[in-house]
């Protein structure tokens, strides 16, 4: 499942495609050695379940990054979309808006909101030629503010069962969210390799002017990437809602750092035109495995962030050495 990588097809290219997998294996082995709870089925399912929401965000961000753009606002959709979906169906007593819409309408509205935010971001960036970093930063702040204003900073506890399904239900021993995420990754990897729009993302990120001169509708395709990213962020929000059984007013806060870390560690170029789904997925997995290990090792909570950041830096340097290709 290679993307458009530089030397796909050659033996060396294949090694490069493996990217982070050796690093992931090493960390898992180390983890198994230092903690006997690490390599147990329960813990592995736990890691996968923890990864699924983040991984969907990383997937969306990777599509936008391959097209040579940015989206910082994804993390705010993770909170705002499910909160909106809930408040449309909840009564005033349950801190909803009291308009008591049917649950399916709430779910659809939730997904539509994610796609709409993506469409707004994409349109501002593409049609008005605004800087993607600033546009989506502003959007991030706006959406966070909206969530706080809507909920008055309080957590929504009364969650209908339908909202819990993705994050809480299991099929064949694994949470539905894990199956869904896996499916999305396979679909995206095939799409990037075997669909004209997937190839167009690489062409646009690699040289937008050339893509335009070759008849690719650069604007539409780029906006499309933003829409898909926003939609996936809404799904990630729903997964979190199911896992926690509630939507807190700060849901998703700070995720965007991990999203970018995972993408970049996974070999996705911030300059556009380069990146694979395998890379994005292993990047997300690596972060969660490390997180899990730190928790299991009972590292003092106050120190976890610093250690986590250090490990991200190390992983970056490591992947730079193995990849040789430029990361950033």
């Amino acid at each position: 499942m290679t993307g458009a990588s530089v030397a796909a097809g050659t033996r060396f290219g294949f090694m490069r495609e493996l990217g982070l997998i050796p690093a992931l294996v090493v960390i898992v082995l180390v983890g198994a050695l230092i903690n006997n709870k690490f390599l147990t089925p329960i813990n592995i399912v736990n890691i996968l379940a923890n990864t699924s929401a983040l991984a969907l965000l990383v997937l969306g961000e990777t599509l936008v990054l391959i097209a040579g753009k940015f989206d910082l606002s994804l993390e705010s959709i993770v909170g705002l979309a499910p909160a909106t979906g809930l408040m449309l169906v909840l009564s005033s007593a349950a801190r909803g808006w009291g308009i008591d819409l049917p649950v399916p309408v709430g779910l659809v509205a939730m997904l539509a909101l994610g796609a709409l935010v993506g469409a707004i971001n994409g349109t501002l960036v593409v049609r008005l030629r605004l800087n993607a970093f600033i546009v989506t930063l502003a959007m991030l702040i706006i959406l966070r503010g909206l969530l706080l204003g809507m909920t008055h900073g309080e957590t929504l506890f009364e969650v209908p069962d339908a909202y819990l399904f993705l994050g809480a239900a299991t099929v064949a021993g694994l949470p539905v969210s894990v199956w869904l995420t896996a499916l999305c990754y396979v679909a995206a990897a095939l799409f990037l390799r075997y669909h004209r729009l997937g190839r167009a993302l690489y062409a646009i990120g690699g040289n937008a002017q050339a893509a335009r001169a070759a008849g690719i509708r650069v604007g539409r395709v780029t906006i499309g990437a933003y829409v898909v990213a926003g939609l996936l962020a809404a799904v990630a929000g729903l997964i979190m809602c199911g896992r926690v059984g509630a939507v807190a007013a700060n849901q998703g806060n700070g995720w965007i750092f991990n999203v970018f870390a995972a993408a970049v560690i996974g070999g996705v170029s911030l300059d556009g035109g380069k990146g694979t789904m395998l890379g994005a997925l292993t990047g997300a997995l690596l972060l969660n495995v490390v997180d899990n290990l730190l928790t299991l090792a009972q590292v003092e909570t106050f120190w976890i962030q610093a250690i986590y950041g250090g490990i991200i830096l190390l992983a970056l340097m490591f992947s730079r050495l193995t990849n040789r290709a430029e990361q950033v």
Binding site: T10, A210, A213, G215
Partner: protein, 496 residues
Amino acid sequence: MNGAVDASGITKRFGQTLALDAVNLRVEPHESHALVGRNGAGKSTLVAVLTGLLRPDAGRIAFDGVPAPPRDDRAAWQRLVACVYQRSTIIGALSVAENLFLNRYPTGRGGAIDWREVRRGARELLDGLEVGIDVDRAAADLSVEERQMVEIARALSFGARFIILDEPTAQLNKAAIDRLFARVRALQAAGVTFLFISHHLEEIYEIARTVTVLRDGHCVRTGPVDAITKADLIAAMTGEDAHAVVAAPRGDAPREPLVEVRALCGDGFEDVSLTVRVGEVVGIAGIGGSGKTALGETLAGLRRARAGSITLAGDALPSDGDVRARIDAGIGFVPRDRQVQGVVPALSVADNTTMTIWDRLGRFGVIPPGARERSARKMMDAFGIIASSPQAPVESLSGGNQQKVLLARALASDPRLLVLIDPTAGVDVKSKEALLDAVDAARRNGTGVLLVSDDLDDLRACDRVIVLFAGRVTAELAAGWREHDLIAATEGMALV
């Protein structure tokens, strides 16, 4: 008496290419000296040597009889000579005053910049040239004319008394050109010497006293402008023997019109009408700024037309810029600069060659496994593209092979009209032949070709050449034209 500049025996080699071969140039003090030559004659290299940016392999330069300073002493060079390039060296985000004193701001106590003094100094410099430009304006807002004056003022403030103007009139209208020339004459009277590089030969007769002609790195002629006729000047630029080489008319019967362009107006061209027939190659020639590139890009859908119409095989095409729609209508396109608009460097040869036909390789936009590679392999064979495999990134290919990839991509959609812009720019001789052969093969299959170029070999492959000057069609030459006539037409000069 010493010349303002005395360059003798200047030789500069780039790898295999001899860019300058023992060139001598003497510019008398207080005169305007014109330097002319076709693209690639060595003018830019000579300017780089004269301004100290390039060290010549051999030869000596002296200013006012004093040998030129060592190359790394930029400050010393700046006190002697300056060049006002076509491309601005002004920083748009800074004010005019800041640009004039960049990196040498007058400072007050404690080393802080004395802004009052910066503005006063800037005003003084511009007043000295009788240029009324507000020194607090952002440099980005300056017109081309104003920008040139700021650059000249800056050069003079360094103490330079020898100024090179590189195609200063290319982007100016007639009134601005007259003002520029008046200022040049005034400065000359005040003791400044100019070296004037221009493609517009008419202007040389207006402003210069002496002219030097470069051809293929040699100084082929130098003397007072009064003593050289226009015809002689062009002959010197092209080389006498070049007259013998003419394009042979193809002699096939005229066929039905394929593309009709009527009164088309767009970015930098006005009221262009032309016809391309089935199986005909029509050349579009012109110097930089003639509007020829924009015309090609407008036909290909990269730019929007402001007025006028384009019909392809009887169907009117919409005037908006939409390359996809043009490809679907049957227009193939090789863009101007392969690095900028052509290839996606990191993507494979397979991706780059099939980019225009991804939607045709399978249903619903799906590209079946192997389809790209098979299609690319066919094109690699047909066009002689040398690459290790279809998966090789296109950036690993030579320039000539990249250009073949672009031509293959343009022809992949089976176009009825092929729009080529500088299709052989910067490629080796063999690739050039292969590219022109491929164009000819397409022509024989009935494709109409619009070939925008200033390369004589490209234009010789055309049935007709239409010449643009300052955005308008000024001449049409049937195959069999003499190089002489073509150059006279592109330089905007009436020979007769």
